[in-house]
Symmetry: C2
Subunit: 540 residues, 2 copies
């Protein structure tokens, strides 16, 4: 079993019950399990023409997913890929048909035609008005004796459903349905077969090939064609369909046969609209999984000429969430990028004391390079020293560009420099530290309080708390003690850094992926760097 089912025999009844429980009370079923599987609207009062469809299961959401206001009154579900029985169809008809009558929408498969057909006769013998239409939208072969009914069926459901909802009589609804059937054409393509419940997937389609002109029951396509990419695939489908189109606007229904990802389906939508028939597509239903073939990685395109009546019917709101709506196709609305992506360079300003202070810090980090690399190599990839030294070199070279006289601007400018020159997570985190500190300084915080605010933000973004074996373990106590001077700050930083050697289970940062034996006894290199910085500042 490679599927989320229980048994092949119960998959359809269990799936229907799951559908019903999740439908918010909108849907019910007849008490006929296991043979009679009829899903019906609970809010249906038989005052209009009832639309009934169905057929084998395995095409979900078709058809039970399309039961609801504005679409079907009932769906008669067979087992997977098997027609429902005459009794099941009759039960569905009898359960929902009132004086306005019933329209059966049947896909063109022999079993469905016969069983729905006989059920219709038996229902008529009760005096019910029953009409039946047969959907045969597949154009896989130019002269197919019995074209299959595939995803175009959904357009019949929707357009006939809107008319029935509006109170049209049976003849009108049936004529509209037949009109859709006469006009709609569909074609599918697939890169895989489908997996029948409880079975393995047939491996019929070789690599580099696709099947064109397939149905929805896992049968082989009418031909295998080379497959290169989405553009070529959709181009081939569009070319075949083009021969069946009149001039004028169409609605397209882009159907996922089950196994294509939403990403692929959106690429296919783009290719459909960019294809040779794209200009004839006024509106689009989907892309979405509407008439599937279990998990087949494939798609189908259905096309129907539009007139105002069909436009209105397609746009009418419906209850079934499985109907994705019908949207007018639009050009891609491309908006200009906002201003502000290129950071404004701060105006340089002079402050010799600050310049010397910063130069000293930079020099210190440059001098720690090999020590910190060696420390990092014991528990990491040995580059902490180089990362910090590289950033220090870059900052040192930028000193003359910095707004040294304005602390708020200076914090922000350091953040910007670091974000542009220092790679990796630590670069982003230090950039956040200084940018947020600048923000806080701009809001009136003093120099130390601003740095504490920066650290808060680093913790929120980086997720590191004290005890997580990161530079926070040294930086937080240092900043907390800094109002008392560099001496206490340095002592606090050193104590914090040394404590990291005892933390053998890191909860954040890269060390969280490293085993305890490699962490024990070694200070975290980031925390060590912070401790050394404050020790140097304390030493004057």
């Amino acid at each position: 079993m490679t599927q989320f089912i229980n048994t092949r025999d119960t998959v359809v009844t269990e799936a229907i019950d799951g559908l019903l429980r999740a439908a918010g009370g909108r849907l019910g079923r007849l008490d006929g399990y296991p043979h009679i599987k009829v899903v019906l609207r609970t809010d249906w009062n038989r005052d209009r023409v009832a639309l009934v469809s169905g057929g084998g299961s395995g095409h979900e959401p078709a058809h039970a997913g399309f039961v609801g206001q504005g679409m079907l009154a009932a769906a008669v579900c067979g087992d997977v890929f098997a027609s429902p029985s005459v009794d099941a169809v009759l039960a569905g008809i009898l359960a929902v048909t009132g004086p306005a009558g019933c329209l059966l929408i049947v896909k063109n498969y022999t079993g469905d035609r016969l069983n729905f057909g006989l059920a219709a006769e038996r229902a008529r013998a009760f005096g019910l008005k029953v009409a039946m239409v047969i959907v045969d939208d597949d154009v896989a072969l130019p002269d197919l004796p019995q074209p299959r009914g595939v995803a175009g069926t959904l357009l019949v459901h929707k357009i006939a459903g809107a008319l029935a909802e509006d109170g049209a009589d049976l003849d009108t609804v049936a004529a509209a349905a037949q009109g859709v059937i006469d006009g709609v054409v569909s074609l599918g393509m697939s890169l895989s077969t489908c997996t029948l419940p409880g079975a393995a997937r047939e491996d019929r389609i070789p690599a580099g090939m696709a099947e064109l002109g397939l149905g929805i029951h896992g049968e082989a396509g009418v031909e295998q064609v080379p497959f290169a990419d989405a553009r070529g695939a959709m181009g081939m489908v569009a070319d075949r369909l083009a021969g069946h189109l009149d001039a004028g606007p169409h609605v397209a229904l882009l159907n996922n046969l089950g196994g294509a990802t939403p990403l692929e389906m959106s690429v296919l939508a783009e290719e459909l609209l960019a294809s040779g028939i794209g200009t004839q597509i006024e509106s689009l239903v989907g892309p979405g999984a509407l008439m599937t073939s279990l998990d087949m990685r494939g798609f189908s395109v259905s096309l129907l000429p539009l007139d105002d009546a069909r436009r209105a019917a397609l746009a009418a709101p419906v209850a079934p969430a499985a109907w994705p709506g019908c949207n007018p196709v639009s050009a891609v609305d491309v908006r200009p990028l906002p201003d502000g992506l290129v950071p404004i360079k701060p105006m340089p300003s002079a402050d010799p004391a600050r310049r010397a202070y910063l130069a000293k810090c930079c020099s210190l980090f440059m001098g720690m390079e090999s020590d910190l690399n060696a420390l990092d190599a014991k528990s990491g990839d040995g580059d902490t020293g180089s990362t910090l030294a590289g950033a220090a070199r870059a900052l040192d070279a930028a000193l003359d560009r910095l707004p040294l006289a304005d602390l708020t601007q200076l914090y922000r400018a350091i953040g910007l420099e670091l974000s542009q020159t220092m790679g990796g997570s630590s670069g982003v985190l230090l950039a956040i530290f200084f940018t947020a500190a600048g923000d806080a300084a701009a809001s009136g915080h003093g120099p130390v309080a601003a740095l504490r605010a920066g650290l808060d933000r680093v913790q929120q973004v980086g997720g590191a708390n004290p005890g997580d074996r990161t530079m926070v373990d040294a930086l937080m106590p240092a900043l907390d003690a800094l109002d008392d001077g560099y001496g206490p700050a340095a002592a606090a930083a050193r104590a914090g850094a040394d404590r990291t050697a005892t933390i053998t289970r890191a909860k954040a940062g890269r060390a969280s992926y490293v085993g305890a034996d490699k962490l024990a006894g070694h200070n975290d290199p980031g925390a060590e760097a912070v401790a050394r910085l404050f020790e140097m500042l304390a030493a004057g």
Copy 2:
């Protein structure tokens, strides 16, 4: 290439453009391809708190599919499974943030946290109000240092989105989002890995096993567990989640990780609601593909405690079609089967002449058995004679039960007998023929006109036209001539039957699958049976 894409490098931008064109003008994007991929509402006027989310692609419809009224103002899309850049996030923030500010909803991955975090700082430097929440709903491990953000993110989008839509201020929206994050727990299970664009699928999960506690980037689950069926799988997930639940009602979000079929997802919904935590689930979002991992055949369950504010926020209507709604969970509404499935037995009545006539017809069909079988064997499976003879024997045995004195009832009764005793397509078609003839007779048609009406219905249901090499080729001309007597009817039937020997391309029925060489020179056995019947009747 086994996917419907063009190139790995263009898959995301092409998919976004496809999404936008199909969104009916609701969505646009920034002009930043390929590096800046920001989808935004075209109807957004910055008058409320802007929700911005995003992250790597490959999780569609998340997040671009959830941009729209009531949910996100913008989505920032990275490449597949890769965080978007700081510039891209900043562009998204700047494009949609007005005086009310902006809430960033970020899944807990380092790259996303850092890039969204730094972008937030840069946006704040412009004076914008920007809050950020980090979703970490995954409970795959009891004490995960950095729990991942998975499908629970959608509940954050929805609930925060409803508040923002209502005009709540940034603090309120952010607090509600954080409240959801604090409350929501998620767990996933999968039967397969996912297929990265342009790559082959990794075959990591052996047959009979599933991965439990996986993320949405194809990474391995925290353990491999034996997989037997949907019930066991969901039971295991429910058990793990149960330990994280408080008493009281919850909303569940049942997410398709991409490759499970709708049929499987409905079975899983049923199993979730029947599981040990089922009684704690008051409402359900999905099942549906909301936060996918490309084509992974898996699911996840997210659970969030409910209160009235969350109920209202979840129920609020939204524009994005990808949001499947949140429905109250209900018991399965099972309705009694309608009356009429057990056909009412007609009252027998006597008419000796009709009895003799019918007996003679039955006898004739019994006598033709081996001839027709032999004829059928030349182009089919050689059972037409036996099928008809079997039906004739059953009908002959039923003569005393039939309403012989009332032609309307008699036609219907014959139809009923044949539907119950005669297998296969021909049994259904003959049942339709007689049932429809009874219907027509009840409407006032004469005996022959009623049979013609029956034939019309057979043609509609069976799809056979004259020239299609079926019994229609003999029956239609016979009925057309029958008003002139049996002689002309027999001649017409014989001519029609003999003509079938020249029809080498059948368009309906079983013979449509048979090659021309096997059809040429042999009458269709059904048509031959009809001709012999009328010849017998003409002979008196």
